[in-house]
């Protein structure tokens, strides 16, 4: 549960930063409070859905990747209709944002996994050294 909350907040932050960068390119001066809440809601739905999507495991990484990013972009497009984002943002910008946030999220995830792996390998070495001492 903790991990889910942290992930939701992290990707909401990434989404808002990406949104701010894109809005700046369009000469915008501010982000609406409603946009912040909408981003947060969509991120919560996305992470809950990803728990189910990730239950599917394939021997081919590409299939898992297509399903995952397909789900993320699909949800974004549907949310765009629901929250009427298309009146101010073109569809391709929304998709671009989704891809950027997805890859930034993956990057953060890889960093976390690298930390976990360093811990695992260190612990394995420690256990091996202990065994050899005995």
């Amino acid at each position: 549960m903790n991990k889910l909350i942290v992930n939701c907040l992290a990707t909401t932050g990434l989404t808002l930063i990406t949104l701010a960068v894109i809005a700046s390119l369009y000469q915008a001066k501010f982000l609406c409070v409603s946009s912040v809440y909408q981003c947060f809601i969509v991120n919560i739905i996305m992470h809950v859905g990803l728990i189910l999507v990730r239950k599917f495991e394939s021997n081919y990484f590409v299939i898992e990747f297509i399903i995952e990013i397909g789900y993320v972009l699909g949800l974004l497009i549907v949310s765009g209709f629901f929250f009427k984002w298309y009146s101010s943002t073109p569809l391709w910008v929304l998709i671009l944002m989704g891809i950027v946030v997805y890859f930034l999220g993956c990057l953060l995830n890889i960093m976390k996994i690298n930390d976990d792996m360093a811990f695992i390998n260190k612990k394995l070495e420690f256990l091996k050294a202990n065994k050899n001492q005995k």
Binding site: I110, M117, I120, K123, L124, L127
Partner: protein
């Protein structure tokens, strides 16, 4: 911890008595470790039934709904399903590393990332098997128990 050993030629089975003030995680861990010594998995080898000791198993894999038990040099099919073995072997140092594979953490040598966002575990006999990222936390938790 005080360990007392007593040799008795009339004793049939090994008897272990644990004396403790209060039940705590250390006592529980000790109990599970002692129980795990007798933990075996029923397998088949050339039409006959054999019992493989959990500590001799390197990893267990499910392929096309059939379960295979991999030891250092031999592979045995088993009638058990993977989910049954996950429960049965959890106190013997086994941890799930992918949807279809359980590994004995005691024979894990190292783990490294692959290019396709998967991970690869190297076992003490040099064999390499794939690890799914989502099970990394489980491996970490299992190692913390040791």
């Amino acid at each position: 911890m005080i360990i007392k050993l007593e040799e008795n030629l009339t004793q049939e089975n090994i008897e272990v008595l644990i004396k403790y003030k209060r039940m705590n995680p250390t006592v529980k861990k000790l109990i599970s470790l002692i129980k795990s010594i007798d933990n075996t998995v029923r397998c088949h080898s050339e039409q006959r039934e054999i019992w493989v000791n959990a500590s001799d198993i390197y990893y267990i894999e499910s392929i096309d709904k059939k379960t295979f038990v991999y030891c250092e040099k031999s592979v045995y099919p088993s009638d058990y399903r993977l989910y049954q073995l996950i429960d049965a072997l959890q106190f013997s140092g086994f941890v799930q590393i992918s949807k279809s594979c359980l590994i004995n953490i005691n024979i894990l040598e190292s783990i490294r990332p692959l290019m396709n966002s998967r991970l690869e575990a190297t076992l003490s006999n040099g064999e390499r098997i794939n690890v799914t990222r989502k099970y990394v936390a489980d491996i970490k938790a299992k190692l913390q128990e040791l």
